[in-house]
């Protein structure tokens, strides 16, 4: 319950930041989310003329008050989906986001089931073999004599 409340509080704290980032994106964050079309890296990793040109375009759109989504949509309309460093959270792009999570959850579940089955299928430890009563008595006598 406490953990759930912590997650809820964190979500409430993060949501306004995300909204602000959507309404007033910074050049630095978009440079990390947009690819340079000729270098195979994000814009922040490139100083090629093509990357510089897109950086200027983004800066101009930010100055004009465009939202992050508007700027990304403009870039996609010009350069295609490959201009985005990460697939969009919609349509077929969702597969790229959810498939790894589904894979991890499935693997964890299979591992858990496997461990559970393995731990329950092990045979119980056999009880320690009892000594012959005569031998046990003799052993006790020997120990008593030794301690005396």
């Amino acid at each position: 319950m406490r953990r759930f409340l912590l997650v809820l509080v964190a979500a409430f704290l993060v949501a306004p930041v995300a909204r602000a980032s959507e309404r007033h994106p910074s050049l630095a964050e978009l440079e990390g989310e947009v690819m340079c079309p000729v270098c195979g890296t994000t814009l922040d990793q490139s100083s090629s003329p093509a990357a510089q040109q897109i950086k200027r375009l983004i800066a101009a759109r930010i100055a004009a008050g465009d939202t992050k989504t508007t700027i990304k949509n403009l870039l996609v309309s010009q350069y295609g989906e490959a201009i985005l460093a990460a697939p969009e959270h919609k349509g077929f792009g969702l597969v790229a986001w959810w498939l790894p999570i589904a894979g991890i959850v499935t693997a964890a579940a299979l591992l858990g089931i496997g461990v559970w089955r393995w731990s329950h299928s092990r045979e119980a430890e056999p009880p320690p073999a009892r000594l012959d009563p005569a031998l046990e008595r003799r052993l006790d006598d020997e120990l008593r004599r030794f301690e005396a």
Binding site: P37, V38, S48, P49, A50, Q52, Q53, I54, L57, S77, Q78, Y79, G80, A82
Partner: protein, 179 residues
């Protein structure tokens, strides 16, 4: 899990892995699509790959398949961020004055922002029509970066050459004009 069910699951997993491996091998073995540039280097003259792209001047689109085979074509791949492209496109613009009636000149603005491309055309006085290949998908079929890349297509629709050295331009223009 019963023994037959376990065997079936294991068989399925092995088949899946084998299938993915086979797909990878097939993909690597059949990765021959290096574009027109490579085909020319190998001594072949492929038919110009078709495209249908929007014109930068807003006057509809250009469908290469509909032009191919009617008139020789010079195809110029350029972008507004490409500095050497200015020089090459200006040379083609000058050549167009001599061959404009016999040869169709088409620019393909690639991996570029169309607003910048239009400005670039105005600034450099390039008047032959250009189309917008923003994603670079068409350029990839012709061999990809770097640009500028200039190809010469004969009247038959076959690509006869790519401009490698500047001095070859008059020769190629004469060749396709006579085709």
């Amino acid at each position: 899990m019963t023994r037959p069910a376990r065997l079936a699951v294991q068989g399925l997993a092995v088949a899946l892995v084998a299938g993915l491996l086979a797909l990878l091998i097939w993909r690597v073995a059949n990765d021959n699509n290096k574009g027109v540039g490579q085909a020319l280097s190998d001594g072949h003259h492929p038919t110009a790959p078709a495209f249908d792209l929007k014109r930068l001047d807003g006057r509809g689109s250009i469908d290469l398949a509909s032009i191919r085979g009617k008139k020789p074509i010079v195809l110029d791949f350029w972008a507004s961020w490409c500095v050497p492209c200015i020089h090459e496109s200006k040379r083609l613009e000058a050549a167009r004055k001599n061959y404009g009636g016999k040869i169709t000149f088409i620019g393909v603005d690639t991996k570029d922002f169309s607003g910048d491309a239009r400005k670039w055309l105005r600034q450099n006085g390039i008047t032959y029509p250009s189309v917008h290949d923003g994603s670079g998908a068409v350029l990839a079929k012709w061999g990809g970066l770097p640009i500028p890349r200039i190809f010469f297509i004969a009247r038959s629709g076959k690509v006869v050459g790519e401009l490698i050295t500047e001095e070859d331009l008059p020769r190629y223009l004469k060749q396709i004009a006579a085709s």
